[in-house]
């Protein structure tokens, strides 16, 4: 028997991610593996996109290390509920540091979308923004509609502290839009754009 207390989402994930990055300027964006990587690719190429094809559960810690290294650079992590759930401890780790230039957006369809749309823990009522708030994030919220998305985009780039949002999206399986696949190439491009040849 399958039970669930969550209400699901309606927002279109591709439109959400396109809106999230529309006004990014030179912000760095880390996309968690699976659909967020296809979503970010669909929104257009950018030399500061770190689109992940592996390392499930680590999108947030990558964003954290980058945000700590470059405190004046806005860093946005866009990932899925399944990817975030695999790195639940990283919410504690990021919350302990809470860099003001780091924001996390979970595109939450309450499903493991890449593997057959099995229900994830958020479908059973797990409240990721509550976990982020309890972990030390400066702000956290759940977004369910266009107005909420507009407000969220304002907050992300306003420098209002380390933030977290769960954006409730519709559980649909869209065609893949694939970015560059070579991890070393992706890494070097992002790093050279941000830090030149430092390090």
């Amino acid at each position: 028997m399958v039970s669930g207390t969550a209400t699901g989402g309606q927002l279109d994930r591709r439109a959400v991610v396109a809106r999230l990055v529309r006004d990014r300027g030179q912000a760095a964006v880390v996309a968690g593996l699976g659909s967020p990587t296809w979503d970010l690719a669909a929104a257009g190429d950018h030399e500061r996109n770190f689109c992940m094809w592996g390392g499930m559960g680590s999108a947030l810690t990558i964003g954290l290390g980058l945000a700590l290294a470059q405190p004046s650079l806005p860093v946005l992590v866009i990932t899925g509920d399944g990817e975030m759930l695999m790195g639940m401890g990283s919410l504690a780790t990021a919350g302990a540091k809470a860099p003001a230039n780091l924001a996390v957006v979970v595109c939450d369809n309450e499903r493991f979308g890449e593997t057959g749309m099995q229900k994830s823990h958020t479908a059973y009522g797990l409240d990721l923004p509550a976990v982020a708030a309890a972990s030390g994030f400066a702000w956290s919220e759940t977004v369910r509609d266009e107005a909420g998305l507009e407000a969220l985009c304002g907050r992300i780039y306003a420098g209002g502290g380390c933030g977290f949002a769960s954006v409730k999206i519709a559980p649909v399986d869209l065609p893949r839009v694939m970015p560059e696949k070579d991890g070393a190439l992706i890494k070097d491009r992002v790093r050279r754009s941000i830090a030149g040849n430092e390090g």
């Binding site: 700590l68 790195g87 401890g89 504690a92 780790t93 890494k187 390090g199």
Partner: protein, 178 residues
């Protein structure tokens, strides 16, 4: 004593020597899951204003953290005990595919005078597991040789752009005291 003085007073000579190598190599971020054998070095890193030290809930977070640091132009080191190596394998695959450099310092359990048999299997497997994942591995039980190996591993990881590890033998650290 202030915090840096206290950290300096409590650290062993080999921990001071490793810290000096980290500073000389320009290590700006250190991630760690606490281990008794790393206590002195963790305290030195926490007390060093040039190093951002981050406590982790599990060791694999450190691979991500230091990958992010590298994307931002910084060098990093990860401190763990041998049981933590087992938590890192998929992220080591990530680090290898993307060619992220980092120094991994592992304090060994499950060997010399170990009182806890549950530590033995992962301790025995730590070196081979790291090698299997493409990490260059050094190990020693000699406190005199250790700093030199750390220096070699630092030079190597940033030259290869792949992780390098140094395993610090339990005999060097001393058996865990209870």
């Amino acid at each position: 004593m202030n915090a840096p003085q206290e950290a300096a007073a409590k650290a062993t000579p080999w921990q001071h020597a490793i810290h000096a190598h980290l500073v000389a190599a320009g290590i700006a971020q250190v991630g760690y899951v606490p281990d008794a054998g790393h206590t002195g070095l963790i305290n030195l890193c926490e007390a060093d204003n040039a190093i951002e030290a981050t406590v982790l809930t599990t060791e694999e977070e450190g691979i991500g953290l230091l990958a992010g640091a590298w994307l931002g132009g910084q060098r990093g080191a990860l401190l763990m005990q041998s049981s933590g190596v087992g938590n890192c394998l998929n992220m080591l695959a990530f680090a290898q595919h993307c060619r992220f450099p980092m120094l991994i310092l592992v304090t060994m359990r499950g060997e010399w005078e170990e009182f806890n048999p549950w530590q033995e299997p992962m301790g025995r497997a730590s070196g081979p597991a790291l090698s299997l994942m493409g990490v260059a591995v050094r190990r020693t039980d000699d406190p005199e040789a250790l700093p030199g190996l750390v220096g070699e591993a630092l030079a190597e990881t940033f030259a290869r752009e792949l992780p390098s590890a140094v395993l610090i033998g339990q005999k060097l650290i001393g058996a865990k005291k209870w």
